[in-house]
């Protein structure tokens, strides 16, 4: 009859294990099915020059960051100073996807807060964002030189996350920093 007393304890332990795991997960974090796959193709007008285009061809042959941002996004403002810092370190090119934004507001934002981007694509209707599985800005993709998606971070990018999640992957990919000066 020992099992009668042990069973509630067993059930309790199993439930607790589920709760500990389940409640510590972040429901806002939805893993991207794009990881390890080629980045979705796109071509959009540039934010600063609507007559010229920005697309996957611009990333080709370099390890790059692709950052989804908008002026209506609070988290983007939060991470912006770090992106500017990162761009000044000149270790990795940062491209932007200006998502469902107002062109004038976006240009204003870059001129007043600084422009960390090599170039930003202007996705007015949000089609490209859907192709990239974007659901909440800011999102930052790490792209390999062959165009594979190495990593995706959802939430403002910080120095801590850069060091713990991005740097090891970049170093595994291209050996040393900066990746910019790799010969292709």
């Amino acid at each position: 009859m020992m099992w009668r007393y042990l069973m509630p304890l067993g059930i309790f332990i199993v439930l607790t294990a589920f709760f500990v795991k389940g409640l510590s997960l972040n429901p806002r974090y939805v893993p991207s099915p794009l990881l390890g796959k080629p980045a979705p193709e796109f071509e959009l007008p540039r934010l600063k020059d609507p007559n010229s285009k920005l697309g996957n061809i611009d990333f080709e042959g370099q390890v790059a960051l692709f950052n989804v941002w908008a002026t209506w996004c609070v988290g983007c403002r939060q991470e912006h100073s770090f992106l500017v810092e990162l761009s000044q370190e000149n270790n990795i090119p940062i491209y932007g996807l200006n998502w469902k934004d107002d062109r004038d507001a976006a240009l204003d934002w870059l001129s007043s807060l600084g422009d960390p981007y090599v170039g930003s694509a202007f996705d007015e209707i949000g089609d490209t964002a859907i192709d990239w599985g974007v659901y909440g800005a800011p999102e930052t993709f790490l792209l390999a030189s062959d165009g594979t998606v190495l990593y995706k971070h959802i939430a403002p990018l910080t120095r801590e996350i850069w060091t713990s999640e991005f740097l090891p992957r970049i170093i595994a990919e291209c050996g040393t920093l900066p990746c910019l000066e790799l010969d292709n």
């Binding site: 429901p27 806002r28 939805v30 893993p31 991207s32 099915p33 794009l34 979705p40 469902k100 209707i125 949000g126 089609d127 964002a129 859907i130 192709d131 990239w132 599985g133 659901y135 909440g136």
Partner: protein, 151 residues
């Protein structure tokens, strides 16, 4: 009920019915519904099964988040171009993962999810039958003893 109270409850129910009516208006997109009734039905069915990743407990049919409206537009366009349901589902899953579906497919990562109710039900039956068997073994005499104890 006093007259004033009656008036208040009338006003409340009137206000509530107006609010319920507007619910229908909110869901309307700038895109017109399909002329083909069965296509429109398929479209409505599908958008009622796709999760809005911004407001995670809403379907994209319910949500007025900009992303939900973008996804409705995209799905509407795909279906208008003749895409089948599996094609649209594949389009969504390849971008957002299974989480985007309110009815995720059965595979190696979701078998626990689908199997848990069956397992728990079977477990419940097991416990139930064990208790039943134990009770059936109890001699009836025990109850008479209880009777004697009552004054």
């Amino acid at each position: 009920m006093s007259r004033a109270r009656q008036l208040i409850s009338f006003r409340a129910s009137f206000g509530l019915s107006i609010l319920l009516l507007t619910g229908i208006v909110w869901a309307i997109d700038p895109t017109p519904p399909f002329d083909d009734a069965s296509l429109e039905k398929n479209y409505q069915e599908l958008i009622n099964e796709v999760r809005c990743l911004v407001c995670q407990n809403q379907t994209i049919a319910d949500s007025n988040a900009p992303l939900a409206s973008d996804l409705r537009r995209e799905i509407h366009q795909m279906m208008g171009d003749g895409a089948s349901r599996p094609e649209v589902v594949e389009f969504l899953v390849s971008r957002y993962g299974d989480f985007v579906l309110y009815r995720p497919p059965f595979h190696s990562k979701t078998w626990v999810l689908w199997g848990a109710p069956v397992f728990l039900l079977a477990f419940g039956f097991l416990i139930f039958s064990r208790i039943l068997k134990a009770r059936m073994k109890q001699p009836l005499g025990e109850y008479e003893v209880l009777d004697e104890m009552t004054p």
